[in-house]
Symmetry: C2
């Protein structure tokens, strides 16, 4: 069973990496750009067949390792 | 108009960062894990109001800066 996890910085957390990308794009002439923020994306494949149990396991992985809950939000989707 | 861009490594490209995460999770006792691959995620806000034009602009940003087309795939979604 495959899941995707998207990890984004919380709204009020500064994103220096995204800022650099934003400035670069503006310097390249993309004047329509209002903002860009960067996050992480994981594609996770687990052998569990029960979706509820699998989602709980993915959630545990996120909380224990993949996500810094102080500054990041995450979203789990089945794919 | 807001879009999300997900950038993933192509299927046959090695993902050492994902491998480290995978080994760590397995060492933490997550024996159900089959595989995990890591990618990038962007949230882009553009001032363009026509969706087709906006998507074309996002696509241009991806090709010119955000994505290494040799080893990466990308997907644009409206949010």
């Amino acid at each position: 069973m495959k899941f995707s996890v998207t990890v984004t910085l919380k709204k009020d957390v500064l994103d220096p990496q995204g800022k650099v990308v934003q400035n670069t794009l503006i310097n390249m002439g993309m004047s329509d750009l209002k903002s860009i923020r960067q996050g992480k994306h994981f594609e996770i494949d687990v052998s569990e067949n029960d979706q509820t149990v699998a989602e709980k396991k993915i959630d545990e992985m996120c909380r224990k390792l993949l996500v810094n809950l102080i500054i990041e939000d995450y979203k789990i989707n089945k794919i």
